[in-house]
Amino acid sequence: MSPVLERRPQSSTVMRVIAPVIAALAATLITLVLLALSGKAPMEGFYALFLAPLATPSGWAQVLVKSAPLALIGAGLVVAFRARVWNIGAQGQYIAGAVAGSVLVIYRPEITGGWVLPVILLLGAVGGMVYAAVPAWLAIRFNANVILSTLMLDYVALAGLHYLTFGPWRNPANFGFPGSVSFPASASLPLLWPGTQVDLGVLLAFFAPLLVWGLLRFSLFGYQVRVSLSEAASVYAGFSRARMVWQSLLLSGGLAGLAGILQVAGPIGQLQTDISSDLGFAGIIVAYLAQLNPLGVMPAALLVGLFYVGSANAQITLGLSAALGELLQGILLLALLAANVLVHYRLRWRQA
């Protein structure tokens, strides 16, 4: 008897849901083995990584805060990836959003009023969109590969952020230390859960996947995205590829930009040299863990958020290596991709 893969006539919806569970179990198993190999008690390590953060309210708060930007970025990328627009430049768009949203605070730090915060958030989203418009334009006008242009623009955005935070946007009262002035109360997100970092931004972020779900489900744009999985079908339906590239880049860029300004006007509180733009990359993992389904983005973001909090906790309580958290993300995603084979294929046993 040997196992063979046999193509399913139709991809299995049930498997699409079960595959992540299988992947999580496999990743957990591999984690336990890794823990044992590195001389730690596996169950203790498992507890520190995955359960301890969820044992206290403040742990939950941390997981929520870490997941929020991932949910925003991931929701946007779901759309882009479904439309086969490989925007892997969410980091750059995140930075652009943080920078654009900070303009008002930098140049008019004294402004107050209820309108300030909404305007700042809007500027952030527009910043991300404008930065995502560059690769869209390069792709449409010059046929430039989106993977590469978005990637190169990440590095350019980072250099720009360095320039601003070490240069003209530096807080003049800070003895030459980098980083902008702190965001005043009128430009900061109100806390929803006192004593933690959970603010309005977390709530906004968790609405994004739902909105994206609605957009994909009920709008013409959503229909176009769904059919663009098949090139032939979208050509047949007469949809413009150029418009699809524009729209999906603007949407994913805008959400990444919003994530950026929500971090700066929220937990971080100032525009600084490091604003965790690596979240842009983690957002890609979230989109795939969600099986490119907007409704999967929330649980996926929470899981990756848990990894961040859990790996810091495992370091504090058990002295586990900091690299473990990242390794786990990689293993989980690889396990999921492997498990996804069952969506399209079924396992049959065949006489040798």
């Binding site: 590469l148 623009l153 350019v156 890609i284 993992i285 690299a323 990689g330």
Partner: protein, 308 residues
Amino acid sequence: MNAAAWISLLSAVVVAATPLLLAATGELVCERAGLLNLGVEGMMAVGAVSGFITAYHTGSAYLGLLAGIGAGAACGILFAWLTVQWVADQVATGLALTIFGHGLSGFLGHSYAGDTITALAPLAIPGLASIPWLGAIFFDHSLPVYLALFFVFAIYWFLYRSRAGLTLRSVGEDPAVAHSLGLPVNPTRHAAAAFGGAMAGFAGAFLSTAYTPMWAEGMVAGQGWIAIGLVVFATWRPLRLLGGAWLFAGVGVGQLFSQAAGLSINTYLLSALPYLAVLLALVLISRDPLRIRLNTPASLGKPFRAET
């Protein structure tokens, strides 16, 4: 600026281009077979850490290189298994490999950061090394520098002059047609991905055993991404990789030199310059769609599974 300074700079560019060339040559072969592996950065990290650890324990940097090649090939095979055998999304698998490789290298290398090894020694090529200018620039380096150049030409020959290369290109053009012609689609893709991984691992091990003989988390620092960029820059033609790698390394070294020479240019702009250069080159090359289409492997990134 005197001749010695020029020679010293150009020689630095040739060496700095080496990891890019090695990784890009591997990726080019992989893409020519229709597989887009975005995991180069992660495979380089795994190659770097295995190369360093092996060199540390065996005392031989050459064994380190071999270990890096082997570890990279293993990553490439993992990629092929997932994307060819199990038709996983290539973009997602490549990105997963990058994250996995980065995490794994940090995990394995944790206790090796700050240790020292005996670095790969330069091997001056007798005769050639004493040619004025060219000798010092090209022929007074460690073995991987020559091998990187060798592979560029060897792969050119392989792709355009050998039967196996023709098979590989046919598989990349249209795997369904290749399969119906009886060409070994899956084995070819597995081999191409393994080669791509091996070369990325080689590039990483070059960094950790020869270029900056040390292990540090994140030491690949984006070079894997640049290598992927170079493949597009070269429009999938091996010989053009040379120009791209030298251009990128040249802009990187040049911006540092312009500072050392006292030119007052915004240093953040200089830091972004190599990436802007790639972007500009990308635009210039891509604007002629015909040229891209002529060389791009038509099946690049698209899932295909040869049913047996």
